[in-house]
C-alpha cells in the first residue's frame, strides 16, 4: 500500500524532504498564524486533495523570522512571536488535527529540528527555543499517543538545512568542537530514508519517542 505523507513547512528542509520521501507526498507551506485545529482536516477534505488519510506527518515549519539571526535586545515582541510562539503553536495545532487521522492508520509523526536547539546559538534564541520545544513535543506525543499505536519522533538536523550558509557556519563554529565524524553531512536522501524507516511499521513498530541526530557525527548529543 502506498503511504500517504503530509509535509508541513516551506523552504528547506521541508521541500527537500518532500521530494525524497517515499509514498504519496503532499507538501503544504502555510503561514504559522494560519494554522488552526482544522488545518489538517481542511487539507484532507479539499477538492482534488491528493491524500485521503495520513500515515506520516513530517513537520518542519520554520518561518523566515526564525531563520534570521537577531540579538534578543533588538527584537520586537511581534518578531519574537513570529519567530517562536506562532510556529510553536502551529506545530501543536497540526498535531491536534493529525491525531485522528494518524490513529486510523497507526501512523507516525516526525518533527525535524535544527541542532541549534540542543546546542544553543547566539542571535538565534527564538529558533533554538522553538526547536527544543518541538523536540520535546515529539516525546510528549509519543507518550500520550502510544496507546493509539501512533509513534512520534524528532530528527535533529545540521543548521545548514535551515539557515543561510553564513549563519549556519557561524552557528557551527561557535558550538561544534569536532568536524563531522563521517567527514561529510548526510544527504537529504539519506535523511528521508531514515524518516521512511521511522514510519515503516514492519521495522520500527517498537520505536517511539526517539530523538535522532543526523549531523554526520558532528555533535553527538547525549
Amino acid at each position: 500500500m502506498t503511504r500517504d505523507v503530509l509535509v508541513v513547512g516551506g523552504g528547506d528542509p521541508a521541500a527537500a524532504l518532500a521530494s525524497e520521501l517515499s509514498g504519496n507526498v503532499v507538501q503544504v507551506a502555510p503561514e504559522a498564524e494560519e494554522v488552526d485545529d482544522g488545518f489538517v482536516d481542511g487539507l484532507l477534505r479539499a477538492d482534488g486533495t491528493e491524500v485521503d488519510g495520513l500515515d506520516l506527518v513530517v513537520h518542519a515549519l520554520y518561518p523566515q523570522q526564525s531563520r534570521t539571526p537577531a540579538p534578543v535586545e533588538e527584537m520586537t515582541a511581534d518578531r519574537w512571536a513570529a519567530a517562536c510562539d506562532d510556529p510553536l503553536e502551529a506545530a501543536i495545532r497540526v498535531a491536534r488535527g493529525a491525531h485522528r487521522h494518524l490513529a486510523d492508520r497507526h501512523g507516525t509523526m516526525v518533527v525535524c529540528v535544527p541542532l541549534v536547539g540542543a546546542a544553543g546559538a547566539a542571535n538565534l534564541v527564538a529558533l533554538a527555543g522553538l526547536a527544543e520545544g518541538l523536540r520535546v513535543l515529539a516525546r510528549s506525543l509519543a507518550r500520550s499517543w502510544g496507546s493509539d499505536q501512533i509513534r512520534a519522533h524528532a530528527v535533529t538536523l545540521h543548521p545548514s538545512l535551515f539557515l543561510a550558509s553564513e549563519h549556519a557556519e557561524a552557528a557551527v563554529e561557535a558550538t561544534a568542537l569536532h568536524d563531522p565524524a563521517l567527514v561529510r553531512l548526510p544527504s537529504v536522501a539519506e535523511i528521508a530514508a531514515v524518516i521512511d524507516a521511522l514510519a515503516d511499521g514492519r521495522t520500527t513498530a517498537g520505536l517511539t519517542g526517539a530523538s535522532l541526530v543526523m549531523d554526520g557525527g558532528t555533535w553527538m548529543a547525549g
Partner: protein
C-alpha cells in the same frame, strides 16, 4: 534569622547588596525562591499578576527581616515587565538577578488533542513570550553588574509528558532559550541558567487532585523519597546560581527533583 531562612540560605548572605526580581513569586516555587534570595541578602521584587498573593509574599519576607516589595506584573505584557524592572532599579539601584518563574495553568491532564484550545496560547505566552520579555527588559541592567538570568523549567521539559504535553513543550522551549542566551550573553559576562524543580506547590497539589496517583508515582521514582520544598530545597539552587560560586556555570539546566529524573 528564622529557621527557614537559615535552611534557604545555607551559605549565609552571599547575595548581600544585590537586587533580584522574581516573577510568579506569590506562591509555590516562585515564593520559595524569593524567600531564599532575600534570606541570602538580596532585595527582592515580588512580581505577580495578582496583589492578593504577591503582597502577602512580600510581606512574609519583610516579616522575616529581609527586604522585599510587591510589583504587579503580567509577564505576558511588555509594558508590565518593563515597568517592574524599572521599579526594581528605581527602588534598589539596579538589577543583578532576574528569575522568571511564572507559569500559566495547564488545564486538565490529557493528550494534546484534548487540551482546551483556549489554554494553549496562554501557556506559550507565559513561558516563551515572557522569557523573551524578561530577558530583553533586564539585559541593560544585568550587563552592568554583570548579573544573571534564571528561567524555571521542568523535568517534563526534557523527557516530555503524556498528560501535560503543552506544559512540557513550553518548558522545553525555555531550555532552548537558556542555551542560546547563554551563548549570546556570555561575552557580556551575563550568565543564563535554568532550574527544573519538582516541589510541593499549589500547582502540584492541583495536579495531584486531578491525578491522584501522580504523587505516589513521583515519590516512587525519587531516590530521596519525597517531593521538594520550594523554599528549603529549590530556593538555595537559585541562590547558588546567582552567587559567585556559580561564576563559571552558564547555559545549564539544574534538575532539582530529588533524583527523579536522571536522563541528562
Amino acid at each position: 534569622m528564622t529557621e527557614m531562612a537559615t535552611v534557604a540560605a545555607p551559605w549565609g548572605r552571599v547575595l548581600e547588596g544585590q537586587v533580584a526580581m522574581v516573577t510568579g513569586a506569590g506562591q509555590g516555587v516562585g515564593a520559595g525562591i524569593a524567600a531564599a534570595l532575600a534570606a541570602a541578602g538580596a532585595a527582592v521584587v515580588v512580581a505577580t499578576r495578582r496583589a492578593a498573593n504577591g503582597e502577602p509574599a512580600a510581606e512574609a519576607i519583610r516579616a522575616a527581616g529581609q527586604t522585599a516589595v510587591f510589583v504587579r506584573c503580567d509577564v505576558t505584557e511588555a509594558v508590565d515587565v518593563q515597568a517592574a524592572v524599572n521599579e526594581a532599579v528605581q527602588r534598589f539601584g539596579g538589577l543583578d538577578i532576574m528569575v522568571h518563574n511564572a507559569v500559566a495553568p495547564a488545564g486538565r491532564p490529557g493528550g494534546v488533542q484534548y487540551t482546551r484550545s483556549d489554554m494553549i496560547r496562554p501557556q506559550i505566552a507565559t513561558a516563551t513570550t515572557a522569557s523573551f520579555l524578561c530577558a530583553r527588559a533586564s539585559l541593560v541592567h544585568l550587563r552592568q553588574r554583570p548579573g544573571t538570568l534564571i528561567l524555571l523549567t521542568s523535568p517534563a521539559g526534557v523527557e516530555g509528558s503524556a498528560n501535560l504535553p503543552i506544559y512540557a513543550t513550553v518548558k522545553a522551549t525555555q531550555r532552548g532559550i537558556v542555551k542560546s542566551l547563554a551563548r549570546e550573553w556570555g561575552p557580556l559576562g551575563v550568565r543564563v541558567n535554568a532550574i527544573a524543580p519538582v516541589a510541593r506547590t499549589p500547582a502540584m497539589d492541583a495536579a495531584v487532585a486531578a491525578n491522584p496517583s501522580l504523587e505516589t508515582r513521583l515519590v516512587a521514582r525519587t531516590p530521596l523519597g519525597r517531593l521538594g520544598d520550594a523554599t528549603a530545597d529549590i530556593g538555595p539552587v537559585a541562590v547558588f546560581l546567582a552567587s559567585a560560586g556559580a561564576r563559571y556555570i552558564t547555559g545549564q539546566t539544574i534538575v532539582a527533583d530529588g533524583g527523579g529524573f536522571l536522563g541528562l
